[in-house]
């Protein structure tokens, strides 16, 4: 099936089989491998992207469902430019260890701040319930999001 999907500002026209998940379309058809796959059950959030401005687990949508939509992946944040304040904050506050959950965590955190620019620690923890991290124990992720909210004028 023919689809037109705008990813990080570029329109892509591709022929995909309907069972292709959006995450596979991004990683395999477009070679945007920043978006990760960490589970088979829609629980880990490492595949989080923004679709038409809303956070989405891209393993839980077919590419054909996204036909006509606008997708932002982790690669959109610092296209040859300076890091996004959220990326900087994860760096500064040690919000990652192995880094596998990080792209999804950052995309989910940016969506979280869009809906709530001044979150408390508690609200950050609840807001990131859809993203699992096996390394950090979350403490520094919360600190990173807090830091980013200050940097971003929150």
């Amino acid at each position: 099936m023919q689809v037109k999907i705008t990813v990080n500002g570029t329109l892509h026209e591709r022929d995909v089989t309907p069972r292709t998940l959006l995450v596979h379309f991004l990683r395999e058809d477009l070679a945007l491998t920043g978006t990760k796959i960490g589970c088979d059950t829609s629980q880990c959030g490492s595949c989080t992207v923004h679709l038409d401005g809303k956070a989405l687990k891209s393993c839980t949508m077919l590419a054909v469902q996204a036909d006509g939509s606008d997708v932002q992946t982790i690669e959109s944040l610092a296209q040859d430019g300076p890091l996004h304040p959220m990326q900087e904050s994860f760096w500064e506050k040690h919000g990652l260890q192995c880094g596998y959950c990080t792209p999804g965590m950052i995309m989910a955190s940016i969506a979280l701040l869009e809906n709530n620019p001044h979150p408390s620690d508690e609200e950050i923890r609840h807001g990131l319930e859809g993203n699992l991290c096996r390394c950090t124990g979350y403490q520094n992720i919360v600190a990173a999001v807090k830091n980013a909210s200050e940097k971003m004028g929150g």
Binding site: M1, T17, P18, R19, T20, L21, H24, D40, T41, S42, Q43, G45, T48, K54, A55, L56, K57, C59, T60, M61, L62, V64, Q65, D67, A108, A111, L112, N115, G127, L128, E129, G130, N131, L132
Partner: protein, 285 residues
């Protein structure tokens, strides 16, 4: 993991969706996809044709009409949680929608898909049942309405007939009642291990009418007539709450489900605890 081979069609009207659904035995409607796609990835569901209804604008709106609130089947959990009308007419539904899954799930999952899927661990069925909601359905032979009481039939089974689509969910204005939904969430998925919704009409400190529904612990969302009759006429003091908790536990006995992590007896005990919490949350006490 990949789903099996499928065909995909984006419906441009309710009539077209119903037509395609009726003509294809192995077709399934696709709304937010947040129950169906995970099931397809695990090969628990293998439809041959997906009919994507998610672009049918007329099923997205939430509006008040007279003393009722009407919620389109395609309203997302996030949309319901943020709706001032739902917050006022059916506050426990707004708060339940706000604790479904996580932000990503709430952005895409819809109330129609949630009710149709009738996952025992879902939140909205319990709340819609406690508010005595009505489910509006359309099929090839026209429209009909089913009370929530009759809609949830069994584990993953509803009163929907083949070829039918949920169009709207209608609830009466409960803004004068005290209501709340509380749940014990599964730590990874956030699905309900136990969820209880209480809707209480009060006259001063006396409860004049109570509706109590339980989900998560049970194969489908169920009302607890025992707890409702204990609470009605009481002042919701500790002895009434203890008696209501005991009544809930016995009412749900025949419907209990469990698994390795949360066996039946644990869920049954928690239903009693969460009933008390639901009443306290409703009263703000």
């Amino acid at each position: 993991m990949y789903p099996t081979e499928i065909d995909y069609h984006r419906a441009s009207s309710i009539a077209e969706a119903i037509e395609l659904l009726s003509q294809n035995d192995d077709a399934k409607l696709l709304a937010g996809g947040h129950s169906l796609i995970p099931a397809m990835k695990l090969r628990l569901a293998q439809p041959g044709l997906l009919i994507d209804i998610s672009h049918l604008e007329e099923l997205k709106s939430i509006f008040v009409s007279g003393d009722k609130i009407s919620i389109g089947a395609l309203a997302t959990h996030a949309q319901i949680a943020a709706s001032a009308d739902v917050q006022s007419y059916a506050p426990a539904l707004a708060s339940a929608a706000g604790i479904v899954g996580d932000q990503q799930v709430r952005n895409w999952g819809t109330i129609g898909g949630n009710l149709a899927h009738a996952d025992p661990a879902s939140d909205p069925p319990t709340v819609v049942l406690a508010y005595d909601g009505v489910i509006h359905i359309q099929g090839q032979s026209g429209s009909r309405s089913v009370n929530a009481q009759d809609f949830f039939v069994d584990l993953f089974a509803t009163a929907l007939e083949p070829g039918e689509i949920i169009t709207r969910i209608e609830l009466s204005n409960s803004s004068s009642a005290k209501s709340a939904y509380v749940k014990l969430s599964h730590p990874a998925s956030r699905y309900a291990v136990v969820g209880v919704c209480a809707v209480l009409e009060m006259n001063g400190s006396t409860c004049t009418s109570a509706r109590v529904a339980v989900g998560g612990a049970t194969m489908k969302a169920v009302r607890s007539p025992g707890a409702e009759s204990v609470l009605t006429g009481s002042s919701l003091d500790d002895s009434a709450l203890n008696a209501a908790a005991a009544a809930v536990k016995s009412d749900i006995e025949e419907f209990l489900i469990g698994d390795m992590s949360y066996p039946e007896d644990y869920r049954q005990a928690m239903a009693g605890v969460y009933l008390k919490r639901a009443v306290h949350a409703a009263l703000g006490s």
